[in-house]
C-alpha cells in the first residue's frame, strides 16, 4: 500500500500536464468559437491565426481561452472529456443505448465493452499460441545445438520488423488461404508474444547448475526426465517474468491486427475515431486498452506470486 501515494503523485502530475497541453493544442478552435461568440481576438483573420504559432496565440489571447477544455471536437480532449466519453461508451451505452445490454439483452456493438472483449479474445488466443510456440522453441533450443544456432538469430530478426508493416501482409496471406476473423489477429498477437517467452524460457531451462545436472546424470536420468523434473520446474520464475511481457505484447498485437480489418475491437475503434475526428473516442479506447493491459499483467503477477510461493521459490 506504500506504493499508492507516489503513484497518485505521478498521476496528478500527468493530469496537470495534460490539462496544460490542451490549451495550446486547441487554441485555434477555441479562438474561432470565441470570435463567433463576439469576442475580439488577435489576430482577427482566421487565416492569419493559422499562420501564427499556437503558443503565441495563447499568449496574446489570454482572456478568451475559457472554452479550451470543453470543445465539441477538440484536437486534444481534456482528461474529464475522455473520462466522460469512457463512461458514455461503456456504462452509459449499455444502460440507456438502443442496442445496449438493458434494452437489447446483449452488449452494444457501439460500446467499448463489446470491442474490448473482441480484442481480449484475440489477445488470449494469441497469448496461448505465442506462449506454447515460445516454450516449444525454447525446449528445442536447449536440447539441440543446431536449433540453438539456427532458430535464435531468426527469432531476433523477426522482432526487428515493425509489426505495423507486417500485420496487413499476414492478414492478406491468411485471407487468401481462407482464414479470417479471430485467427489472423491471434497470429499477429502470437508473433509479438512468442519472443519474450523464448528468451525467458531458454534462460530458465538452462538455470539448473552443473551440480544439479550431474546429479541427474548419476541417476542415469533421460533428457525427458531432466526436462520434466528439473528444467521445467526450475524455469517457472523465468516463465512468469516472460508471461508478463508476453500478455502485454499480445494485447498490442491484437490491436494492431484490428487496424486493417475494421471488424470490431479496440484497434478498429481507434482508427474509426481518427477517421471521424472523434479524438475523445480514440483516447477512451486507448485508456481502455491501457486498463486491460494493467489488469492482465496484474493477473499474471497474482498467479505468479501464488505459484512461486507454493513452489518454495518466492523471492
Amino acid at each position: 500500500m506504500t506504493r499508492i501515494p507516489p503513484l497518485l503523485g505521478v498521476l496528478a502530475a500527468l493530469i496537470a500536464l495534460w490539462y496544460a497541453a490542451v490549451v495550446p493544442m486547441n487554441v485555434q478552435e477555441t479562438l474561432t468559437q470565441a470570435q463567433r461568440a463576439g469576442a475580439v481576438v488577435t489576430p482577427t483573420e482566421a487565416t492569419a491565426r493559422r499562420d501564427t504559432s499556437n503558443l503565441v496565440l495563447v499568449a496574446s489571447n489570454l482572456d478568451h481561452l475559457g472554452e479550451s477544455w470543453s470543445l465539441d471536437r477538440p484536437r486534444l480532449p481534456a482528461p474529464h472529456q475522455v473520462v466522460a466519453e469512457l463512461y458514455i461508451s461503456t456504462i452509459g451505452e449499455e444502460l440507456t443505448g438502443r442496442r445496449g445490454l438493458v434494452q437489447s439483452g446483449s452488449l452494444s456493438n457501439r460500446g467499448l465493452v463489446y470491442h474490448a472483449l473482441v480484442t481480449l479474445n484475440a489477445t488470449f488466443l494469441g497469448f496461448l499460441i505465442g506462449t506454447g510456440l515460445g516454450t516449444l522453441l525454447a525446449i528445442g533450443i536447449v536440447h539441440s545445438r543446431t536449433m540453438d544456432m539456427s532458430v535464435m538469430p531468426w527469432a531476433i530478426v523477426s522482432q526487428t520488423i515493425p509489426i505495423v508493416a507486417l500485420a496487413p501482409m499476414i492478414i492478406v496471406v491468411l485471407y487468401s488461404v481462407g482464414i479470417q476473423g479471430l485467427l489472423p489477429k491471434a497470429v499477429i498477437s502470437a508473433y509479438l508474444s512468442f519472443f519474450p517467452v523464448v528468451v525467458g524460457m531458454v534462460k530458465g531451462l538452462r538455470s539448473p547448475d552443473a551440480m544439479q545436472m550431474d546429479q541427474m546424470k548419476t541417476w542415469s536420468a533421460t533428457s525427458r526426465d531432466t526436462l520434466l523434473k528439473l528444467r521445467l520446474p526450475a524455469s517457472t520464475p523465468y516463465l512468469f517474468a516472460s508471461l508478463k511481457i508476453a500478455i502485454a505484447a499480445s494485447l498490442v498485437g491484437a490491436i494492431v491486427g484490428e487496424l486493417p480489418v475494421q471488424k470490431g475491437g479496440l484497434g478498429a475503434r481507434m482508427l474509426a475515431g481518427s477517421y471521424y475526428g472523434q479524438t475523445a473516442q480514440i483516447w477512451a479506447a486507448l485508456l481502455m486498452a491501457a486498463g486491460l493491459a494493467a489488469v492482465l499483467v496484474w493477473g499474471i503477477g497474482a498467479i505468479e506470486r501464488r505459484t512461486l510461493a507454493k513452489m518454495g521459490m518466492s523471492a
Binding site: M211, T218, W219, T236
Partner: protein, 270 residues
Amino acid sequence: MQTPTPTAPQTADRPPVIQASHVDLTFHTNDGPVHALKDVSLDIPKGAFVSFIGPSGCGKTTFLRCMAALEHPTGGTLTVNGMTPDDARRARAYGYVFQAAGLYPWRTIGRNIALPLEIMGIPKAEQEKRIQRVLDLVELSGFEKKFPWQLSGGMQQRASIARALAFDADILLMDEPFGALDEIVRDRLNEELLRLWDKTQKTIAFVTHSIPEAVYLSTHIVVMSPRPGRITDVIESPLPRERPLDIRDTPEFIEIAHRVREGLRAGYEE
C-alpha cells in the same frame, strides 16, 4: 609410487569393489594440458570407508567423479563392481552425495527422496516404503511432508544422504558432503554417518579436506597431492569400527592425524 592393496581383516577374502590401476586424466584447456590425475592405482575393498584428502587441485574430487562416470579417465583402467563406471551407473551401483544438498525447493523432503526412484521407475507403493526406511536411517522420520527451506542446513544434507541411499546402491560416493556445515553440526553428522555405515555395510568413498574428519571416519585414508594429481600415501586405520567422538583425543588418533599431515606436507614440498 606405491600400489597399495589395503585389506582390513573383515574384508580380506573379497574382491575389491573399486579397482583403479594407473588411471590418468588430462584435461585439455586453453592454457595447455592439465594433469588432473596421474598414475592413480587403488583398490577399495567391500565395506571399507575410504577418505580422500589433499589440497585443492590434487584430483580427489576428479577421482570420485571418475568412479561415478561423470569424468572419463584418459588412461589406465577403472572398474566399479567389476564393471566400467558407465555400466556401474546404469546398474545403480552407487549413490552420489554432493557438497550442496541440492534438494528441489518445489518438492517436499519425501518427494525429493522419491526423485531418483521415480526416474528409475520404481512403483509408488515401494517408493513410500523406501522413503520411510531411509528417513529412519538418517533420523529424519516425520519430516517427509516438510519442504527443504523448513529444514536446517545439516538436516538438508541428511535428507540428501537419504536420497542417495534410497535406491539401495552398495557404494556411496560423497564429495565433501559436510564441507559447508559448521563444526558442531559436522561432528554430529560424522557420528551419524559412521553409525549408518555400520548398519548398512556399504562401501563409502569420501572426499574431504579436514584431517580430523578423515581420520575419524575412515578405515583407509588416501592422501593425495597436486600437479599432477596423484596418491602419495594410503594409511590403514588401526582404530576400531566402533568410534565414539572422544576417540579423537586418543594417542592412536593423534598419531594417524600426524601421519596424514606429514603426507600432505610432503606433497607440497616436492
